[in-house]
Every structure is written in C-alpha cells, then in structure tokens.
Amino acid sequence: MGRTVAREDRHIRELDDAQSWELFDNAAQHYLGISGEEFLSRWDSGYYEDPDQPAVMNVVMLLPFARSE
C-alpha cells in the first residue's frame, strides 16, 4: 500500500483510522470486488445470510479495522 503508518516498528504496523479504513476497503475489493462502504451496507442490512463463505469471512474478520469502538 505504500502508506505511512501511525506508529511502526519493523514488524508491527499500528494503523490510524484512515489507514485502517484503507486496509478494509482494499480487502473488500480484493475478496469480493466491492468497496468497503458497499460491504458495510450489505453487512448491516443482513444481505449475507450465510457469512461463513471464504470470501465473505475474510472481510468479516477485518471489520474491526473499519469501525471504531
């Protein structure tokens, strides 16, 4: 991604909100071919009745990068 991270050592990249969103958005594009916004909209509406599919679960696992507490 070539980004500057909020805090970094060589092995652990601590991302800020913008960087986290970028990671999530890129992953949604990679696994499902949709934007991060579109995924969140689908997720919140219950579009994924069975989320336990490879591509979907890959993105679900990254949801905390998209949403702050």
């Binding site: 092995h11 652990i12 991302l15 490879p54 990254l62 990068f65």
Partner: protein
C-alpha cells in the same frame, strides 16, 4: 505507554504472532488497530494488509491470517493484564487459485457456527460436495500448529533455521496466557 503492563501484554501478544508468521513469511509484519485498554469490541490483527501472502520458493501457496483479541484484567499480582483470542482465521490457498483449507473460530459472527472448525475447499481436491460446505469440528488450533503443518506437510520452506525454537517460544507465551 511503553513499560505499562497493559502495553506490555498487548505487545507481547502481537510480537508472538509476528514471530510465528516470520517462520514462513519473509519480511512478515502484522497490521493492528486499537490501543492498550479493555474494549467492548475486539481488536484486530492481520498479516500484511489482510490479503493473501505468497509463501514463495516455488510452493504456489499463499496464506491469510487474521485475529480478534481482547485485553483483559487478570487476577494476578505479577501479570495483571493478559490478552485473549476471541476469533481466528488461518487460510491456505493456491496463490493463483482456490482456497485449500481454512481453520476458523469466530463465535461472535451472526448466523455462523460458534465452534472451532475446518473448511476444506475446492483447492483440496476432494470430490465430495459435502466437504465444500462442511464445518469440520476441531479443537481450537494455534497459529503455531498451523505454521508447523505448512512446513512439515505442505513443503513450505522455513524462513528461519531455528523455526522450531521460534515456534516453541511463541507457543510457550501463548500457553501462559491461554484461558481455554
């Protein structure tokens, strides 16, 4: 923040996973978000941007690894904080092809199974269609066990000569913190 026990607990957890992954991924780093405090929602960790990472050296294999974890207060005077895993997802796939297998535990995802399980997918070359839908029950699987499986049974070349010692070190740290 460095030196505070909450910080040390979280960093130990992150470094342990990164150390394990570095046994098979050259230049392995993990992306993380969130601080050093107990949180209502789980905190995420993922290998290299959350995307599949090639294992190189002619293996034609890639992995993706993600975690959710929480920092919790522990009833211990010597180690008042520890980190507990609340979800994991370790996937092996062909680099330019389908998923082969995936060890998963994600009990808090709605409409999904709550027990730890294994998916065997099309890349595994199994003929029965049931395998492509099945949630094969497992115990909880450590990242160290997954990495060891790839090295010993899938021919993934270790990136460190002392990979067994590195896995043992990470596993020992995990065992100290585990609550299950």
């Amino acid at each position: 923040m460095a030196g505070k026990p909450e910080y040390e607990a979280v960093q130990r957890f992150r470094k342990s996973l990164q150390r394990t992954l570095s046994c098979i991924v050259r230049g392995a780093y993990v992306d993380v978000k969130g601080g050093y405090y107990p949180s209502r929602t789980p905190l995420p960790l993922t290998l290299k941007d959350g995307l599949p990472v090639g294992l190189g050296s002619g293996t034609d294999l890639s992995i993706a690894v993600s975690y959710h974890y929480r920092l919790i207060e522990a009833p211990s005077a010597t180690r008042p904080w520890r980190v507990t895993t609340v979800a994991y997802h370790y996937t092996l796939q062909e680099t330019e092809g389908p998923e082969i297998l995936s060890y998963q535990w994600h009990p808090n995802v709605p409409n999904s199974v709550s027990f730890p399980h294994l998916h065997m997918s099309h890349g595994a070359g199994l003929g029965r269609e049931e395998f492509h839908r099945a949630h094969l029950p497992t115990g909880r699987v450590t990242l160290e066990a997954f990495v060891r499986l790839l090295i010993t049974d899938f021919g993934v070349p270790p990136k460190k000569e002392d990979w067994e010692e590195e896995l043992a070190k990470s596993l020992a740290e995990f065992e100290e913190d585990r609550s299950w």
